[in-house]
């Protein structure tokens, strides 16, 4: 068996990440297809996956470039979507503290939702050495990186073959939807989504310039989530957790 010859944490990482790799295949394919549909060159499409390597923000940028939104709004949206990784970085930092700077720099580059989630779960349920923690994190994050790049390439090749009439660009809002629906796990999050979506549509109808409706909608949605949380907390005094 392959797994018996590998260091245990590497074998364990491969085992844990495998089902997740299957799950990111369609996402990676869409990011390649959609970039070509949006008029990016294959090299630009690949550049997004290599330099940014964060699916949701890549798709948002592709979507906004296709709509010829203002470049500042496009960039800002991508950055805001990726801000969540501040939390991952802060949370995983103590576990990767004692490793060498060079490995730390690469570890940061391949940090994603999935590699963060798996590593934190693994570190919580067993007592690993710093080296084992790095092995586990690294193999998980690297496997995700490799599958992401390969599926982007396949998506680019497919996107170049499929006629525009098929409307494959529509897969982008469908992917957003597939991430959005399971992310609504509480009433404040539902409020954030409803207000965010409604304000963004309002921005379109009022033809706010530069796709500003998106930014305003995002801010209004976060505000709605926070105030709903506050109202619910007030109603159930003593019970803080609404998540």
């Amino acid at each position: 068996m392959l797994s018996s010859r590998l260091p245990p944490e590497i074998a364990r990482g491969i085992r844990d990440v495998s089902p997740i790799l299957l799950g990111i295949i369609p996402f990676g394919l869409v990011s390649g297809v959609a970039a070509i549909e949006a008029g990016l060159t294959p090299v630009q499409a690949m550049g997004l996956s290599v330099f940014v390597f964060a699916g949701t923000s890549q798709l948002a940028v592709i979507d906004l470039l296709a709509q010829n939104a203002a470049l500042s709004v496009t960039l800002l949206t991508g950055v805001v979507i990726n801000l969540r990784m501040l939390m991952y970085s802060a949370s995983i930092a103590p576990s990767l503290q004692s490793i060498h700077g060079y490995w730390k720099a690469i570890s940061a580059y391949i940090l994603t939702d999935q590699s963060y989630a798996l590593a934190v779960a693994r570190y919580a349920d067993s007592d690993l050495t710093a080296y084992e923690r790095l092995q586990y994190y690294f193999i998980v994050a690297l496997a995700l990186w490799i599958v992401w790049q390969i599926t982007t390439i396949i998506g680019i090749l497919v996107g170049a073959q499929v006629p525009d009439a098929w409307g494959l660009g529509f897969a982008v809002p469908l992917v957003f939807l597939a991430i959005l629906v399971p992310a609504i796990t509480s009433q404040p999050k539902l409020a954030a989504a409803i207000v965010g979506g409604t304000v963004a549509v309002g921005g379109e109808v009022l033809s706010l310039p530069y796709n500003l409706g998106l930014i305003v909608g995002g801010l209004a949605g976060v505000a709605a989530g926070l105030s709903t949380e506050r109202i619910l907390n007030k109603r159930t005094t003593g019970q803080n957790d609404v998540d």
Binding site: L86, S89, G196, E204, G217
Partner: protein
């Protein structure tokens, strides 16, 4: 829809987003010890960024693809409703894409 931006504009977005995203990822891994944690108010607000921003990206794409709200004759609304049901029921990206694209194609090519 296809972008009218030239290569310099597109590359500047790709590289700027790449640099900023790397900065976000590396922030605490590198600076650990200087700042210890994200302030709780910010962590709390960040939890609402995905639902708010994803909805702000998604809802107009289904409801007002051309800039005004259209329900009748808008194939994307029907595909979007079916895909929302699929996302909720299956909790799976592939199933959501397949259902949404199939409804779009049925309306566009099949009726």
């Amino acid at each position: 829809m296809s972008t009218e931006y030239g290569p310099i504009a597109i590359w500047s977005v790709i590289l700027s987003l790449g640099i900023l995203t790397y900065t976000i990822r590396a922030s605490f891994v590198t600076l650990f010890g200087l700042i210890d944690d994200v302030p709780p108010e910010i962590t709390n607000a960040l939890r609402y960024v995905p639902p708010a921003v994803l909805a702000a990206l998604t809802v107009p794409a289904f409801l007002s693809p051309t800039g005004s709200v259209e329900i009748i004759g808008n194939e994307r609304v029907f595909a979007g409703i079916a895909a929302t049901a699929a996302a909720w029921y299956f909790d799976d990206v592939t199933a959501t894409i397949v259902v949404g694209m199939c409804i779009l194609w049925i309306i566009r090519f099949g009726l």
